[in-house]
């Protein structure tokens, strides 16, 4: 074979150089500096995080709702629910329409989806053995499907190692997702990376806020358009089924409300139909407010989030829609348990079983 030097490779190791910083010392030095940073993050930064504070407030607020007088409602969702549901308006409306006192709180985490909502309910109610009269879940098209990242709050704020088997089995099918989640759970520095990143970029990049908003919006629209142009996937609702099973086990009444959002097209709707079939076959309620609120684009601050005025309108519509459901339940609850009230999936009507529900 031709003996020729590696002409385009210039490896110093070919000449046997011994470097002053061996690889293990470089590695150790990185660990040595990052370890205190991790500890500082854990002890100092994490307690300051508003996201984690929100997560950690859930048990006390859940207990507060459960101990409240009258009809006890928990509103669960993401930023769309945070900006779209006015708790005061909803409380007043329900009190009037149901003729009873209402104790209501909103449990939201921005960017969350079905998996996170499962653990919000667990943190706020199930782990403490309490329940609201109804948990109203405000969801967008696609938010009940499997997939999407488990955001750091769920790893650091809502779950512990005891939840890992369920998280891995029901929500994180791939090894890389599991490792990512474990890293998020174990390392406060890693879990808080988005905060570090945002703060640094706000300092270093002039006009970073509007820039990031534009980039995220366009890319989100692109991903969404791509998802809508491909065939809907079938049977990808393991996380939703897990939530429904947990709710039944804990005897929690769930009301799923489809949020009004622009540009909801047929592809997403057909996906929702599968999700709604799951919900109704499990004996829970579904309310479609995606088209009946009469809101127009100008009443939104962007494609998803409502202005305060729109939120007031939507909240009233929400109140109107759930009043018969919670009123009926509240009247019966004194003597009946939820398990006896929730219809047995085996005894559901054929219509519900076939998922023939209007959207």
């Amino acid at each position: 074979m031709r003996k020729e030097p590696l002409n385009s490779s210039t490896s110093n190791s070919d000449i046997g150089v011994k470097y002053p910083l061996p690889w293990y010392m470089a590695f150790a030095a990185v660990v040595f500096v990052l370890a205190p940073l991790e500890v500082a993050c854990h002890l100092h930064l994490v307690p300051l995080s508003s996201d984690y504070k929100t997560c950690w407030s859930f048990p006390a607020r859940g207990a507060n709702v459960a101990a409240g007088k009258g009809i006890r409602i928990a509103v669960i969702g993401n930023s769309a629910a945070r900006m779209g549901v006015n708790p005061d308006v909803l409380k007043t409306f329900l009190a009037k329409s149901c003729g009873s006192e209402v104790c209501l709180d909103r449990f939201t985490i921005d960017g969350s989806r079905v998996t996170v909502w499962n653990y919000i309910l667990a943190a706020a109610f199930w782990r403490n053995g309490v329940n609201p009269d109804a948990a109203v879940i405000i969801f967008q098209p696609g938010a009940l499907e499997d997939g999407g990242d488990l955001i750091p709050p769920i790893a650091q704020g809502l779950t512990g190692p005891r939840d890992w088997p369920e998280v891995f089995q029901d929500h994180l099918p791939s090894a890389s997702e599991r490792i990512e989640f474990a890293a998020d759970s174990v390392s406060a520095l890693y879990a808080s990376r988005a905060k570090w990143r945002d703060k640094a970029l706000h300092v270093a990049v002039p006009g970073y806020g509007p820039f990031a908003t534009t980039v995220n919006r366009v890319n989100f629209d692109t991903l969404r358009a791509h998802a809508n142009s491909t065939l809907p996937r079938a049977g990808s609702y393991h996380s939703l089924k897990s939530l429904l099973a947990n709710a039944r086990r804990n005897q929690t009444r769930l009301i799923f409300v489809l949020y009004p959002e622009f540009e909801t097209d047929q592809g997403t709707r057909s996906l929702n139909r599968d999700a709604i079939r799951c919900i109704q076959q499990a004996g829970f309620e579904f309310v479609d407010l995606s088209t009946s609120t009469g809101l127009v684009e100008s009443q939104y601050v962007d494609k998803f989030h409502m202005s305060p005025e729109a939120a007031a309108i939507f909240t009233v519509k929400l109140g109107e829609a759930i009043t018969p459901l919670v009123k009926h339940h509240y009247r019966q609850q004194a003597n009946a348990t939820i398990s006896s009230e929730l219809p047995d999936p085996e005894k559901l009507s054929d219509k519900a079983k076939k998922g023939e529900w209007s959207l």
Partner: protein, 549 residues
């Protein structure tokens, strides 16, 4: 990526405990497992390519493959066709075996005659080749050498052409015939999935046979060693494209842990991961935001500066992505005793198109030079022939990147600027020394960077309509937007320090400049890269762009 590191860690844990023979066996198995990770069916293609060039290489050198070895190879390839290409449902098969379910077994095993097409065709081809082979061996030396070379080239290019270009050329021919009123061919696109890294390993396998034909390399008689040469996993799916005379001796010869290799490997892996995680993945959304807005017709508010930063972002995305992969490949190869060639050397500091191609994807540009441009005549047959050869080489170089007319246009564009620079006699000897020299160098680098960016515009755009729209915005809406200012600062924030480190190391050619620096400086460098990778890794990780080539 985490999955890959676990895989690599498992290999490394046992690798240095094994004999050379077993090291090669381990690496070969690991390489096939690694490739099967994407789509196990395409392992068959690698095997076919390997067999063709193994027999072809020996044939060119006048060495007959022993009958027993040939029988083993034939049996292996037919077995591979049966196991990989007959639509066996393996999860169902294993499940049925565990439950002893006969119904499940019948469902899992091939049950339509079309499932058996690949093994049948393979057996027929092997049979035919078995008949032809003794005649080829019996031919006069020069004819035999040429025949084996031609068979190898035709077979490799046929595989590449079918899997990568069939739908493209069939579709294009159909549209052309329709456009000129001659009806249509009526060829239905086959929707072929592109096998990962096919362009890389096919070129590498072809270069082996050509090098033997030229007498530059002697063939190996070990099928296992040759198979490892073709599919060595660190660089299998995105290069660098290694030549036989560089990689094969490292496969066949014993390897040892060299002093300094671990440190060099660590630095290269850090740099490569940084380029991918911090630079490429963060630039991708910015580039995508601009290109998508134009492609979807939502570009009314965009200015020339927005388009420009979109293209800059893509320029750094593709550099971070591709050179990052090459750096990681070099780093992990060093840890197991292999040296891969440097594939990038600060390409955006090029002062001319020729300089750019000496710095960008060096292993491909040198492959094209040695196996295409020079055999076409290079610059030996006059000016006109040289320009023709340059254009052909760059056109095919563009097509190598993908089956799309925008890639062809990208290749032609680079051919064109190469010709223009040569015909204008623009000097490449520009050095940043002295005030005037620095200014001149800076001017030339800036000009060449923008010429390169124009090429990236063709490369990234999904259609010529998008290219035309972006050019129209560049010309007609000259204004500086807040978005562009923020994007420039964003790009600078993610790239500046790494580029300073690369500058200090002359790309990756002088790793010693970092590794011999004071310890505190090195530790600061590692800490910076680690911190950036933890904190500034993008919300969404993107697959390496060059995997699709």
């Amino acid at each position: 990526m985490l999955g890959f590191w676990l895989f690599y860690g498992a290999i490394y844990a046992v690798y240095w405990r094994l004999s050379h023979h077993r090291q090669n066996t381990l690496l070969l198995i690991a390489s096939y497992v690694f490739y099967a990770w994407w789509d196990y069916r395409f392992l068959f293609l690698i095997l076919v390519s390997t067999v063709i060039d193994f027999i072809g290489g020996l044939g060119v050198a006048g060495v007959e493959v022993p009958r027993t070895q040939l029988r083993k190879i034939n049996a292996s390839i037919v077995a591979a066709a049966v196991l990989l290409c007959t639509n066996i449902n393996y999860p169902l098969l294993f499940g049925s075996l565990a439950k002893w379910s006969a119904a499940g077994l019948s469902q899992a095993l091939p049950h339509r005659w079309t499932d058996l097409i690949v093994p049948i065709v393979t057996a027929v081809i092997i049979g035919a080749y078995g008949i032809v082979l003794p005649k080829l061996y019996a031919a006069p030396a020069e004819r035999r050498r040429r025949q084996f070379l031609v068979i190898s080239m035709v077979a490799n290019l046929a595989i590449l052409g079918f899997f990568k270009y069939f739908d493209f050329f069939a579709g294009s021919a159909d549209r052309l015939l329709h456009a000129i009123g001659l009806g249509q061919l009526g060829i239905t696109p086959l929707g072929i999935i592109l096998p990962a890294g096919i362009s890389f390993y096919t070129f590498q396998a072809m270069s082996y046979t050509i090098d033997i034909y030229r007498g530059d390399v002697e063939p190996t008689r070990s099928f296992r060693d040759f198979a490892l040469f073709v599919c060595f996993f660190p660089h299998l799916v995105a290069g660098p494209i290694m030549r036989a005379h560089t990689l094969l001796p490292q496969v066949t010869g014993p390897r040892a842990r060299k002093p300094g290799a671990a440190e060099e490997g660590l630095l290269l892996v850090f740099i490569g991961m940084f380029k991918k995680i911090v630079i490429a993945d963060n630039m991708a959304p910015v580039a995508s935001a601009i290109f998508q807005q134009v492609a979807t017709g939502h570009a009314a508010h965009l200015t020339a500066s927005d388009v420009l930063v979109g293209v800059y972002a893509f320029a750094f995305q593709i550099y971070g992505d591709f050179s990052g992969y090459s750096s990681i490949a070099r780093g992990i190869s060093k840890w197991i005793g292999f040296e891969l060639v440097v594939n990038f050397r600060m390409p955006y500091l090029a002062v001319s198109p020729s300089d750019f191609w000496r710095r960008w994807h060096i292993s491909l540009s040198s492959w094209l030079r040695d196996y295409l441009y020079i055999p076409l005549g290079g610059n030996r047959n006059g000016i006109a022939a040289m320009y023709r050869n340059l254009m052909i080489t760059m056109l095919l170089g563009g097509l190598w990147h993908g089956a799309s007319w925008t890639f062809v246009a990208w290749g032609l564009y680079h051919g064109l600027i190469l010709c223009i620079f040569r015909s204008a006699g623009i000097s490449e000897d520009v050095r940043p020394t002295g005030t005037f020299g620095r200014l001149k160098w800076l001017f030339r680098v800036t000009c060449m960077f923008h010429l390169t960016c124009f090429g990236w515009l063709l490369f990234r755009a999904d259609s010529f309509a998008t290219v035309a729209s972006m050019l129209s915005i560049l010309v007609h809406r000259i204004a500086l937007s807040h978005f562009a200012v923020a994007a420039l600062a964003y790009i600078g924030f993610h790239t500046a320090i790494l580029f300073a480190i690369e500058w200090a190391m002359d790309g990756e050619r002088r790793l010693d400049r970092f590794l011999l620096a004071p310890r505190a400086m090195q530790i600061t460098g590692y800490l910076y890269m680690t911190f950036m990778m933890i904190v500034f890794h993008a919300e969404r990780a993107f697959e390496f762009i060059y995997f699709q080539f």
